[in-house]
């Protein structure tokens, strides 16, 4: 019996590509967010409201990942901004390599903010670095207040939590305060926003945060 000691990270390849991407993003002075949530929380709606609010002030490009269909790219494309669809064909998360391939179709000189909409999933995408500046996790009031406790890695690895669908609060058994308390117990440094992508309430505050962090 012989042993080879290696101590190598399983995701080293992904991390290398993510570092390459990070360097590229920085050299282009782009602010990049990795937008994460369960399916149906409102990631695409959040992008729509964000683009509508910021369109006259900043240039936004979007890379959107889905297991199947280009429905989201079609929706976002209607806003007349650059959008690239990644279809993962079954894979439950985006990897840095997929983003690198999609990024070739992004005009980075003209982009202030790049939003990467990940596949709807609160588990697998948490561990994959895409070279982003910030991971932003979206949760909606219809999902249950204990989501942060059920998916701790996702909320621990994120910098921002956005609570969507606050317009539905009168109809659902959900408390924004409980969501926040649960999230804080996992990650006390989370920046938090409450929005309704239906009524656009709270979108201004979220967009102001984004504008403060743009680099150009």
């Amino acid at each position: 019996m012989s042993a080879i000691t290696i101590e190598r990270k399983v995701l080293e390849k992904n991390d290398q590509i993510a570092d390459e991407l990070r360097n590229k993003f920085r050299s282009k002075k782009m602010f990049v967010i990795n937008l994460l949530s369960s399916p149906g929380s409102g990631k695409t709606s959040l992008i729509e409201r964000t683009v509508e609010f910021l369109k006259d002030k900043l240039n936004i490009s979007v890379i959107v990942g889905d297991v199947q269909t280009d429905n989201d790219a079609k929706r976002i494309g209607k806003l007349d901004i650059p959008v690239v669809q990644i279809i993962t064909n079954g894979s439950c998360h985006l990897e840095a390599q997929l983003v690198r391939d999609a990024y070739r179709n992004i005009e980075d000189e003209k982009t202030d903010i790049l939003i990467i909409e990940n596949v709807g999933n609160l588990v697998c995408p948490a561990g994959y670095d895409l070279g982003e500046d910030k991971k932003v996790v979206l949760i909606s009031t219809t999902e249950g207040d204990d989501k942060p406790l059920k998916y701790p890695a996702m909320f621990r690895n994120s910098s921002v939590m956005i609570i969507n669908k606050i317009d539905l609060l009168p109809y659902v058994n959900s408390s924004v305060e409980d969501i926040k308390t649960n999230a804080k117990s996992i990650n006390s440094k989370l920046d938090m926003f409450e929005v309704s992508c239906k009524s656009s309430e709270g979108i201004k505050e979220w967009c102001n945060w984004l504008m403060r962090l743009t680099k150009k």
Partner: protein
């Protein structure tokens, strides 16, 4: 079910580290997984065993060690281990903690049979 992609990464690293004609000698691949790595050991075993079927690595097995989460309090400097996902210092109750380990996903070593054992 990202365990399939994790298993593919593991196989790629083993292929890089072991000479091609010795892949059939690989017996165990030692893996350290932190509790925060979001990887299910059972699914990973299943994925790995499925992919290596009919390849030189078909007789190899994963040996998975699960590591606890270690947190260091930014207030009182105490270091504590937790098997649970509680991110509050158990000593002083401060929520201001840093995770010092627990999200690892590392291949620590690869064990190979001696060629003589293979002949037997």
């Amino acid at each position: 079910m990202h365990e399939l992609s994790i298993a593919q990464n593991i196989i790629q690293i083993v292929n890089n580290c072991v000479e091609k004609d010795k892949l059939g000698l690989v017996e165990k691949i030692y893996l350290k997984l932190g509790l925060l790595s979001n990887v299910l050991a059972d699914s990973l075993h299943f994925s790995f065993n499925s992919i290596v079927e009919n390849t030189p690595l078909q007789n190899s097995k994963l040996n998975i060690e699960i590591l606890p989460i270690k947190i260091k309090c930014n207030e009182c400097d105490e270091i504590n281990s937790t098997g649970d996902f509680i991110f509050v210092c158990p000593t002083c109750n401060s929520p201001s903690i840093s995770i010092i380990s627990g999200d690892e996903m590392i291949i620590s070593s690869i064990h190979l049979k001696d060629e003589s054992e293979l002949v037997e």
